[in-house]
Structure formats: C-alpha cells, structure tokens
Amino acid sequence: MRVVIAEDHALLRDGLTRLLQAFDFDVVAAVDNGPALLPALTVHKPHVAIIDVRLPPTFTDEGLQAAIAARTQMPGLPILMLSQHVEPLYARELLSTPHGGVGYLLKDRVSDVGEFVDAVRRVAGGGTAMDPEVISQLLARREPLAVLTAREREVLGEMAEGRSNAAIAAKLRITEKAVSKHINNILTKLDMPPSDDDNRRVLAVLAYLNR
C-alpha cells in the first residue's frame, strides 16, 4: 500500500516512516513542507496520505489547506490528518470535501501502534477515523443527545470515530448483535435513516453532530 507522508519534524517523519514500513506499507514520499506536498501526491498517487496540519513555510494550517486542495483535484484521495491539537472546525472542513476516506487524529494516537495502523488502513479503505477528542467535543455540545441512554451515547461516540460494529463490540465487550440494536435505537431516536453501509452511517452521524 503506497503512502505519502507530510511532516516537518524530522524525528516524527522518520518515526512514522519506520513504523509504517514495519507494517508493510510502502512509504513512497516523505515531504517536510506544504508546497512540496501537492506535487508529491499528484506524482505518486498514493493509497493514503498522512499529513500534519501545521507545516512550513507559514507554520499555520498549510497541511490542511493543501489536503483540501488535493481532495478537490483528486476526488476520493484518502487523507489522514495528524496534529498536536484537534479542532472540530477543521474536522468539519475536512468532512465537507468530496467523499473518500478521511481521518483526523492527535499525534499522541500514533503511540498506540495497533490502533494507529488500523486507522490508516481504515482511511485507505475509504473509511473514517476521527479522534475521540473531536467526537467528545462534538458530543458535548449536542443537547438532543439527552434522549440517548448512557450506553447509546457510548456507542454513538465509537461509531462517530469510525469503528465498525465488530470493533465497537470488541471495545465495549458486548455482542455485535447488541451493538446493532443500540445503533438502530440511536438512529431512530435521532431521526436518521437506517443504513447498513458502515461508512455512510458514520458520515451521517458526523454530519448530524456537526450541524
């Protein structure tokens, strides 16, 4: 699986590269600034791009801007953003680009290697990986969620992060059947159309939370 990395800190860049190579990813390019990113993406056409939000030369949100521009030029390009901090505002902007796998994680999450690699694979496969911090911030400001039970809110959170039913079941130590029952309840209570397509369901939930 071909990966392009954009990260300005040499240590993190090398660390990411080594980590991904250890899991049989093919890191075809690792750039350290914003302007070099788009050409690298167009040349290598990676299966997934892992991009730091803040990049030189301006050290503002160059990485995010470049990612959004790349998604407009190459619709469907899976992108995983990494950052030292997460903003629901940025998540909203990322999600508003034409569909395709999308992820937005704190750099801290890389330390849980298994989870991180899983997230990269999920995004490359067209899925979603949202940081728990983004989701908890989104959940915190939605009053209608009061109609959900504590367990349902938990399942909603996991679902919004982009996990599949099986993964949610494993994480919460309940059966997959229980998970899908909870999900049906959630969708009914929040007036959302039922859907068997995991990813479409995640996007619907995120759109609901982002409203």
Partner: protein, 411 residues
C-alpha cells in the same frame, strides 16, 4: 430648561469661592473651607462636563489625582486644590458659563414657545380682544386673514426653534469645553497617569502568567518526563531477564507520556491557542464558538489580521466574555460579531440570558478590561435584569493586509 436653572447656581458658587479664598489665611478655617468649596464647584463642573458629553462634545476631567493620606482640612489637601490649574479654570468658567448657558438656554426655550403661541392662535385672540397686536412678520395685525397668518408663521418658528435647540446646547457645550477640558499639558499628564497604571497592570499580569506557566510545567510535564525516563531506564534493565515486567513498565511509560502530552496541550491552549496562530482571530473565534454548548452566531468582517499581541488580547477577551456567558447567563443562544472600521476593532458579544451581570461581582470583566487597557482598548457592559446582555469591546489597531494562503502549488 436645565441650563437656565443651573446657570443660577454658578453665581452663589462663585461668591462662595471668593469668600473661601479671602478667608484662606484664617487658621484652620481657611484650609478646610477652600477644598470644601472647590469640591462643590467640581460637582457643578462635573455635571456640566457630563451634560456636554451627552451632546457629543466629549469633555474629560482634568484634575490632578488626590494626594494619598491627605486628611480633610489638612495642608496637603489645600495645596492639591490650589495648585491645580484646573481649579482656577473652573472658577474662570463660572461667570461666563452662567451667562452663556442662561442666554442660549433662554433662546432655546423662548423661540419654540413663541412658535407654539402662534400655532395655538393666541395672537389672534389677543388682537380680537385688544384690537392691537402682531405676530412674527405681520406686526400690527389689521385684518382677520393677516391674523390667521400667525398659524404658518408659528409652525415655521416652532420648527426652527426645535431645530436650533440641540445646536444651541452644542454651542454651550463647546463653550464649556474651552474652560473645563484639560489643557494640552493636563491631557498629557492624564495620559501619563493612565499609561503608568495600565503598564503596571500589564507587567503584573504578565509576571503572574509566567509564574503560573512555570509552576504548571514544573509540577506537571517536567515531573512526568522525569518519571518517564526513569521507567524507561528500568524497563531497559529488565527487558532481557523479565520481559513481561518490562512490557508492563513500557505500557506505563506510554500512558505517562500520553498524560504529559494532554497537559502540554492544555497549557499551550492557555498561552496561545494553536488555532489562533493558524487561523487568526476570526477563525479562532469560530472554532471556539463551535466548541461551546450553546449555539453561537458568529459574524466576522476582518479584512486582515491585527498584530499578534492585540490579536491574542482580543481573542482572550472574547473567550472570557463567552465563558462568563456560559457560566452565568443561562442563555439559549448567543452571538459574536467582529468588525474593523476606522482603525478600531469592535467586538460585540451578546446573549439572550437573564442579564443582570455585575462588573464588580466577578474578576472576569475586570480581567478583560485590564487586558484590553494595555492596548488602549475599552469594554462596555449593558446587562439589565432580564437581559439581554451586550458586551462591547473596542481596541484601536491596524490590520495587516490579508495573508495569502500558500495552499496550493499548481503545476
């Protein structure tokens, strides 16, 4: 009307001041009497300043700050009063101020009254009764139609009187400003006093902030990193002989490093939120509004970015206002508007909550005031019981030209 009445208070005040000054050499009595009289005079001139400011002619107080530990009737207080040039300018204003105020006030009242008399046909009745009267331009009325002319004339005179009244008050206010506003020297002195206060506030706040950061780093991240390196060292020792234990230690180390990162993130957010650096004031306020539990309408019209210090102060001022709102107002919705016009950044935060916010009650608003004062900014609060609460903050500043987003390189 008020102007006429107030004009009459000037003369007794002037007389009292003359008497008090004449009695100044009398032991004890003089030292007490002069400052006391001047306090009365200042109450009167302060009233005049407020009246002038209400017509749009801003007149600030020019007085020296009172000396510390000055007892009433003491020498220091006496000296403070008589050495202030503003005292003598106040006295100089009393007589001419009374004359101008009385004259303009009388004109302002009599002209509209004369117009009302014409409108109510009073001249016509007087003419019918006495056979000799006139009004306006038709002096000495001869015929009934001529008498009826008082109606349109009265309307014109009333309109002119009403049009002129606020202008006359402005003239009065300008005249008062000649005497009662600070002189250039006094203005500079006041400015120096204000700058001294805001500078020491700023320096204090900065030192306190640095102390807080130092403590947070020392007790939090530094301690965690120290223990982290210890744990890793221990795991390194154990890895060959007791791999299971080493694994446990490494898991612990990872948890500890995660906690350190979380702490650092909070700390950084408190110093300078990353989104502020990345997106500027508008974007940061938008991101902040998104994270609040109450829906906030955000309306931003900023063609560029202010300097970093101003931007940071403005952001934290808005953030503090919003935090207060969430904490105290029980609002269902709120709004933030940011505008820049005529060299002033205006930030308005409103909510539909219960109102009754008291700037004296908490430290929040006072904190905003101090933060903004360092940039000559101001804060104004309107919060009647029952709401709505409107906080208006203004900071004079220039905007840099909009940054070009170096987002895409096209091939």
């Amino acid at each position: 009307m008020a102007a006429i009445g107030l004009a009459f208070t000037n003369l007794p005040l002037l007389a009292m001041s003359v008497v008090a000054l004449a009695l100044a050499p009398v032991p004890f009595l003089g030292l007490a009497l002069v400052p006391w009289t001047m306090t009365l005079v200042r109450m009167r001139t302060d009233l005049e300043r407020r009246r002038a400011s209400r017509t749009g002619v801003l007149v600030t107080r020019p007085y020296h700050p009172p000396p510390q530990r000055a007892v009433a009737g003491g020498w220091q207080r006496f000296r403070w009063t008589v050495t202030d040039p503003a005292t003598w300018r106040d006295l100089a204003w009393l007589a001419p101020g009374a004359i101008v105020g009385f004259t303009l006030g009388t004109i302002g009242v009599l002209v509209p009254l004369y117009g009302v008399a014409g409108l109510t046909l009073t001249p016509l009745w007087i003419w019918l009764g006495t056979g000799w009267y006139g009004y306006g331009a038709t002096w000495s009325t001869d015929t009934l139609p001529a008498g009826l002319l008082c109606l349109p004339q009265g309307a014109v005179i009333l309109a002119a009187g009403l049009w002129a009244a606020p202008r006359l008050r402005r003239v009065d206010a300008h005249f008062a400003r000649l005497f009662l506003a600070p002189t250039r020297a006094a203005e500079l002195r006041l400015r120096v006093t204000q700058l001294t206060v805001t500078r020491s506030d700023t320096v204090d706040a900065q030192a306190a902030e640095l102390r807080r950061i130092e403590r947070d780093l020392h007790d939090g991240v530094q301690a965690r990193l120290a223990s982290l390196s210890m744990v890793i060292g221990l795991a390194d020792e154990l890895i060959d002989r007791h791999p299971a234990q080493a694994h446990k230690l490494l898991a612990e180390a990872r948890e500890s490093s995660g906690a350190a990162l979380v702490e650092l993130r909070h700390l950084v957010r408190g110093i300078h939120p990353p989104v502020l650096a990345e997106r500027g004031l508008g974007g940061a306020v938008r991101a902040l509004a998104l994270s609040l539990p109450v829906p906030i309408t955000v309306d931003i019209d900023l063609p560029g970015r202010p300097d970093t210090p101003v931007e940071s102060a403005a952001y934290f001022a808005v953030a503090e206002a919003l935090t207060n709102m969430i904490r105290h107002s029980r609002a269902h919705t709120g709004s933030v508007s940011l505008r820049h016009a005529d060299g002033t950044l205006t930030m308005v935060v409103t909510d539909d909550g219960t109102g009754g916010a008291d700037p004296a009650a908490g430290t929040g608003l006072r904190g905003i005031e101090r933060r903004l004062a360092a940039f000559d900014g101001t804060i104004e609060l309107s919060s009647p019981p029952g709401g709505p609460t409107v906080i208006t903050m203004e900071v004079p500043c220039a905007l840099s030209s909009p940054r070009t987003m170096p987002s895409s390189v096209t091939d």
